[in-house]
């Protein structure tokens, strides 16, 4: 199955490199929903997420010749989408991600089972832009702090401190919800 997927991806990449519109369309429809979800969660705005995804896919088709297969195609595209969304977020909100003071001890976030994923997403989307992005990249997308810091062009310390802050806020909001329950 994996082997078959790789062959398919290789063909897709070749087609896109040749500017084959069918291959480009197939690639788009294969990844559009997953990539839109990522962009939407970072930007927390439907229109901006759409624009960021459009820019990202145009960049993907422009730079696909540079894809060397060191990671999966999806991971490579996601990096571009994240950068595009982060760039848009910074430009729209004039956002600068800074290192926050304090200790970075682990904050335990417990999610009661009766909270559905929609509510959890709402809680995440209610976080401030910067720390939300770090939280999404580290906890949802599974990037390391070093990778996150590189993508967002910040230091690893900033990434860690923002994650700490995000977890603290998320915990507060979920506790509030539990109390209401």
């Amino acid at each position: 199955m994996n082997h078959r997927t790789n062959i398919l991806e290789r063909d897709l990449v070749k087609g896109c490199t040749r500017n084959d519109r069918n291959a480009q369309r197939e690639l788009y429809y294969k990844y559009c929903n997953a990539m839109f979800s990522t962009a939407y969660r970072i930007l927390n705005d439907y229109e901006n997420a759409r624009d960021a995804l459009q820019d990202a896919f145009i960049q993907v088709f422009r730079d696909i010749g540079q894809f060397r297969g060191r990671s999966t195609l999806g991971a490579w595209i996601k990096t571009i989408v994240v950068r595009s969304a982060w760039h848009k977020l910074r430009r729209e909100k004039r956002l600068e991600l800074e290192m926050l003071n304090g200790s970075y001890e682990e904050v335990l976030v417990q999610i009661p089972e009766y909270l559905n994923s929609e509510y959890l997403e709402k809680a995440i989307l209610s976080l401030p832009d910067g720390c939300r992005t770090v939280f999404l990249l580290v906890e949802v997308e599974g990037y390391s702090h070093a990778e996150t810091a590189k993508m967002l062009n910040v230091t690893t310390g900033t990434s860690k401190s923002q994650l700490f802050h995000a977890r603290q806020l998320l915990k507060q909001r979920l506790v509030l919800k539990i109390d209401q329950k």
Binding site: C32, M35, Q54, R62, E106
Partner: protein
Amino acid sequence: MKENGENMWLKNLPAHTPPEGMWERIETRMDNDLANESLRAQLTGLPEHEAPFGLWARIEQGLARRRAVQFGVIASGIAASLLLAFVLKVLILPEPTNNQPVQAKAKGQIVNPSPGINIGTTNKTGTFAISVQKKQKSDTPREISQTSANLTGTEQSTYTVQYSDKLQDISIPADFSKLQGILSAMLPLKMESVIQSSREVASLSPNVTKTDAAKNITKNDTLTEWLLARSLKDNFPPPPSPAFTNQPKGVSIGFGYFPESMSKSDHGSSAYKTFALVAQYQMPSADFRTGLGISYQSVPLEYKTDYISFSTTSGYVNDTIINNGDTLFGALLDAGAVNISGIEHSSFLYYSIGAGKRIYSNKRISTSLRVGAGVSFLLSNQHNPSGPVYDALKNQSNTIFSNTESNIPDINQTHFDLVTGFDFNYRLHKRWSLSIEPILKYYFNPIYNGSNARSFSTGLRTGILFKL
């Protein structure tokens, strides 16, 4: 373990107990890990969002626009290079004139003169100062001598070609004002190839001063060299400036392709492509051009329908996509207001006229500044929202739209434009020429009704012309 050996002392090492609360810390850490795993598991179940409908159409537009931009950049690069080459030519290379023949021109005139032909007569009056350095072959050892002459009077000289083949050795410098340069250039001249028939028509007072012991330098030799140069210059003027000689009057016809991009229209970016037949009347320094063609325009539109309803005879409509909600069953569906996006394709009949003022021209290249006007008549327009909304409906073979009211803007039937451009024309062959013209277009009236915006567009007119 060795009971009687050297390791016995290990048994007597002091025992240590873990610090107070170690288990609690381990327990907490394990709880944390479990909680984190649980958090991540729940995060993986976050809902997936569907990419917006119509986004692929926008990406396709973006890709097409990027190609158009790349083409424009390449064309602009070529145009800029041609312009730079033209400017450098004008600034650096001297333009050939009657008074200052270049070496090649003078050479070209005397390549094949017939023996015995009179190649010119000179009349010179005034004082001439001549200074020449010459190596004398006859001197032993060879010496460099310098001769100066101050001549006053008039001399009429006639030169006749005797051995035309040897004349090909003559080289004439471009700048005759540099006397020393002339004389240096004249040194290889074979004197026996030209017979001078000089006669004095006024007193000629040579005052030859020998500055050293040079021999065989006579007045006549020196004058011959100098006057021959003057003669060649006076009697063999270069051909007239080549400007405009390749652009005679005439009518040309051709085919043109005009890609155009409007980035600031009131409905986002749009792209035009025009295919046209072109006719041109050409005069030495100007031309008139007219074109008739078909323009194709595609504009991404996003609009909201006020009301859309449709019914089916099968009693089933899948509006999952439209409402992003549950599938509805029923003979009649009122979807209410929905957002629809897609691309509107329009075609126009385009007619344009324009005049160009030639700025530069040579045998191959000419450049013109051009202004003109155009008018477009709408032939057809069609909005193609090719996406899942309509696909879902199309699958129902008996689906009928019963009512659609939307605020999609009406397109203007006719619109007018003014256009200016800088035309580069490259002559491919005797009759064929290639034209590339970056343009700026201004639309007098908006393309869409009810819009306040007036639009500019940039484009590139390319064409191939055949001279009748």
